[in-house]
């Protein structure tokens, strides 16, 4: 086997490694994609517009907030601002994952940031932390199925919107929190995990009650991150290395 063939088969298995890890994300996000499509049409979007929104924004929570506000005939700039506010957390992901993918060619990085969703970040960060390289092919294997299914299912949801049965009995509205809790638990071995989670939980609940959604996401996140920054470095386990 030539060196080229070996590296090609290595890349292929990297890709399928990513695809395998993407499956829980595909399954978990499917109901939301369909639900998004159905709600989008219900709020005055065409099927094409629902499809375009999923293809261009690719951020479930922000799309839900966007169509909800659009349906309430809120001013367009405010809809865009809300999408920005819900997605603002990606600034933090971007800063985090940037350390891991800075060696990629620029175009690959540009594409990598386009598909940087919550699970994409969480899974890539977990891989980097376990000492494995975060390569473009693996990253694409992880993100591409999620993207393709998300966009296709959004369009399907828009077309067959009224065919979703009793969403409450199926638990569809609560699958996302369960999934996110799973991701939170996955980080439990990190230094400062418990104080950070406690601070973010408390701050997001208070902000949800006072300022309101979607700002509770950014406010809660900033509270947890600030706590980690403020606590002495020897607690956070990063001082030792430098």
């Amino acid at each position: 086997m030539s060196a080229e063939a070996i590296s090609e088969s290595g890349a292929r298995s990297d890709f399928w490694d990513g695809v395998r890890l993407s499956m829980p994300v595909v399954v978990a996000s499917a109901p939301f994609a369909v639900l998004f499509g159905a709600l989008a049409v219900d709020n005055g979007f065409s099927v094409l517009e629902a499809f375009l929104m999923s293809a261009m924004i690719f951020g479930g929570a922000s799309q839900m907030v966007g169509i909800e506000l659009f349906g309430q005939h809120v001013a367009p700039w405010l809809v865009v601002l809300s999408i920005f506010a819900v997605n603002f957390r990606h600034v933090l992901y971007s800063a985090g994952i940037g350390r891991r993918i800075a060696h990629w060619p620029v175009l690959q990085q540009a594409l990598g940031y386009f598909i940087l969703t919550d699970p994409q970040y969480a899974i890539a960060e977990a891989r980097a932390e376990s000492g494995q390289p975060v390569g473009f092919v693996w990253y694409l294997g992880l993100g591409l199925p999620v993207y393709v299914f998300w966009v296709a299912e959004s369009a399907l949801g828009a077309i067959f919107g009224k065919m979703i049965p009793d969403t409450h009995a199926l638990g569809i509205d609560f699958l996302l929190p369960i999934y996110f809790l799973g991701l939170v638990m996955g980080f439990r071995r990190r230094p400062l995990w418990l104080p950070v989670v406690a601070a973010s939980a408390a701050a997001s609940i208070v902000a949800y009650r006072t300022v309101g959604s979607p700002w509770h996401v950014s406010i809660g996140a900033i509270a947890g991150v600030l706590l980690a920054v403020i606590l002495p470095p020897h607690h956070s386990g990063v001082g030792k290395r430098s």
Partner: protein, 98 residues
């Protein structure tokens, strides 16, 4: 072009800026201060927590049961196992408590 299209386009640009922006700002610094690194390490748990915690405000018995089972399974199983366990408990519990 319709207003909807412009909202989608502007929303897409705003979203992409958040996804690339953090890196563009951070990469201007050559060394990362330990406190900044500690902050970055806290990001995923901090953000994801805010997507769960406010749900507790209107969670009923079925939702609580699902979250508790998810947390317990997470101590042993992988992400898919805990998600399926939590979802199964939720769907089952809702048949009884609504």
């Amino acid at each position: 072009m319709s207003t909807t299209f412009w909202i989608i386009l502007a929303g897409a640009i705003a979203t992409y800026l958040t996804r690339v922006g953090g890196h563009l700002v951070i990469s201007r610094f050559e060394t990362i201060h330990p406190r900044v690194e500690a902050g970055l390490n806290a990001v995923p748990a901090a953000v994801l927590t805010t997507l769960v915690a406010p749900e507790l405000l209107h969670a009923g018995p079925a939702e609580w049961a699902a979250l508790i089972v998810t947390a317990i399974v997470s101590l042993r199983g992988g992400l898919m196992a805990m998600f399926l366990a939590g979802a199964a408990v939720l769907i089952l519990a809702r048949q009884f408590v609504g």
